[in-house]
Symmetry: C2
Subunit: 501 residues, 2 copies
Amino acid sequence: MNLEQAKAQLIALQAKMSAYHHAMGLLSYDGATTAPKATAANRGQTLSVLSEESYKLSTGKDTVELLEYLDAHKDELNAREARMVEILIKDIRQMQKVPMEEYVAYQTLLVEADDVWHTAKETSNFALFEPYLEKIFATTKKFAGYFAPDKDPYDFWLGEFEDGLTRESCDQFFATLRSRIVPLLKKVSEKEQVSDKCLWGHFPIDKQDELSKYLMELMGLDLTHVGLSTTEHPFTTSLGSHLDTRITTHYMEDNFASSMFSVVHEGGHALYDTGSDDDLCYTVLDGGVSMGIHESQSRFYENLIGRSLPFIRLIFPKLQELFPQQLEGYTAEDVFRAVNKAEPSLIRVEADEVTYCLHVMVRYELEKRVMAGEITVHDLPAEWNKLYKEYLGLDVPDDKHGVLQDSHWSGGAIGYFPSYALGSAYGAQLIEKMKETVDVDACIEKGDFAPINAWNREHIWHYGCLLKPQVLLEKALGAKFDPLVYCTYLENKCKAVYGLE
Amino acid sequence: MNLEQAKAQLIALQAKMSAYHHAMGLLSYDGATTAPKATAANRGQTLSVLSEESYKLSTGKDTVELLEYLDAHKDELNAREARMVEILIKDIRQMQKVPMEEYVAYQTLLVEADDVWHTAKETSNFALFEPYLEKIFATTKKFAGYFAPDKDPYDFWLGEFEDGLTRESCDQFFATLRSRIVPLLKKVSEKEQVSDKCLWGHFPIDKQDELSKYLMELMGLDLTHVGLSTTEHPFTTSLGSHLDTRITTHYMEDNFASSMFSVVHEGGHALYDTGSDDDLCYTVLDGGVSMGIHESQSRFYENLIGRSLPFIRLIFPKLQELFPQQLEGYTAEDVFRAVNKAEPSLIRVEADEVTYCLHVMVRYELEKRVMAGEITVHDLPAEWNKLYKEYLGLDVPDDKHGVLQDSHWSGGAIGYFPSYALGSAYGAQLIEKMKETVDVDACIEKGDFAPINAWNREHIWHYGCLLKPQVLLEKALGAKFDPLVYCTYLENKCKAVYGLE
């Protein structure tokens, strides 16, 4: 094998891996969007075969020899090739540590767990989901032991979702947020509550669907490469490469804002994914680099843009056109206040910006305790309800509105939730930096997202996974990450909405 | 290797093949139903990798050795195992004759061709599709040369879709039909034409969708295993196994009968597929055995049941409930006559039963001539229009309503069309046989499809691919196939609708 051959094989290997990811991703997507109800076992059968093939491909002798050869010649690789080898070696060294049967069994478990979670949520029946969730936590812990035997298992998984993140840094981050959010929420509660009546009524699905398409186009998504479907829980996924990206939403007939912000949130993910340089397609460098950076983009469009007054003013005529009776007598300013109403609530994805991170902290605390063995999966509903009382002052009426609300655990994403809070905070600091060179508010008012997207593309999207998350972030910010910027942003938002001093 | 090991490997091999078919089938299904417009190249990339893997699996040394071993021990296999080996060996011996690059390139071509066909049809632009269709015909011819160098290429493909079918037997079959259909159509044209006004109007998609679900449940489909989507051209596909089967339809807002009969037609395919014994899942014996038998089931439910007076009487109250204004003043008998109006028309899938086979003959003639080199793909639009004038007396206004109307050619299904006519004729003879033991009309009137489905399950469905098509058919019929039964059926139908003597 010479270097040129090895480089060609490196590309071919990644194309093959992308194909398996495409197939497996599409199976999951189909399960969440279109597949008939009783087909999970059938999908599980196929996924177990494909994940076995994919495992063999990744850990096979040819692959390992190729990567070791390239690693030994890393000085002769360009930056992209070197990073590909680095990522692949890390993934493969991890995968090699998991016995194939366990890897395949886990993939199959996740398909079943997702299916059961849907039914459990629908019927608010945690007992149904409990044995699956127990296995997921147990496997997560076991795999962490394989991957990084010297590390605390939860630290390991936090670091997988956001490079360098640990319980310690996470605790510190959340403590900072809490120290500013709790008093802020108290001040807000002393003011007269704003009304969100304008968001409620009857909003036909076909009109909401029209709104989704309008928003997607407005924010600069290319609808010939980005599709929209409906699912129980909104998400974004790229299939094969960023050239085929799907977002999903969940329509509520009695409230248009819920889906509206899901679309803008998932649209942010899709902008990031589809913003990778096109020649990164079918390589491991394609798409977003970490969940924290990903959420910085989704929550950027959802909140920093989507919940701003200029944005609500921009889209208000469209809202009036789609919902003329429902919005009669209301102004853009009414909608702005309504979508920024800060108030403890039960459902994370519908939470306002101020209370949002408290929802995340509940999940983080519970994951931390289960992973440490301080509580069991069986305890989760009761512990969940206790923390909602403690952090948000609310009584949880049932598990559907409590511990069963999110799809993450059924998908095995233990350690993911802090990314939402981190991403929100990254985003707040990113927009400050962007404002040094882009008149963001003026762009939004004109409905011209090109300069905003161009900034994000230049500083974040186009790299794909070329730069490590923390390097990328600090390069874009031109500074260290500082969560206080986010706290100040939230305070300013409350000033505008509630007239706080 | 001992026999028990080999038998276990036989099952494992088929499970692996099923997984690849699931993935590749889902990619195509996604492309036809949900994928954003500009994603065909991305799917093609993945399909090319997966078809290469699948090719390697099928033709690899291990597989060939396994099957040769089992073939040498065929006396020790049970009937199912023996048939599995027979089918696999036939497929693999064929595949081995195609160079892998050509096999993969053809899979990729089909993805692109399907994409281009959609655009070409939409814009009635045959020139766009022509180069793809040329390559498809050329490859079809070339592959036939690889598979069966001694056979005429079109004979080869006819036989692939329906065991034993050749140009000679096909010519004879169509000549028989023509000798009875052409005079029948003449007699009908001398009678006063029936009105189909009741089928036309404004029929909202959501109501039609409700009708689809109602029909699917009525005919006995299990909606937890059979899904419904919309596509340009209706079809049925099973993904991974018959446990996950999808049908599609195409809604026309100004006519409810078009989608209604698509759903019942595709529903018939789905009943057949999902009727395989469950322990055939993930083997090559799962699902329907040939396209002719498949169409015998789809056209059975569409026409012999769906266009019968008892059926229309059964569903009429539901139609009135869904479309009260549109159907005001009409009776079930009006709808019965309307859906049986015999009249030359342009679109095959919307054709009445009497003219239907003439549409099929046009396609058969054209395929035959292109495959024989008598005409080129470039000639197809003009030749198509000429034959529509000759067989149906119609002027074709544009290629959208002409040569571009069907999806089969873009999918590489050259030699498929005769199955529709054969299946229609098989069905007519099957229902006669069924009526010896089942009071079919009484069952339909009561809306009790269980005895009808039970007969089909016992005589056709449950076998999957265990019996060869002609064996299966003659066993079910208890007689040789006789196309004259179908001709008589058509004549009787016209008597009922037009009062012919």
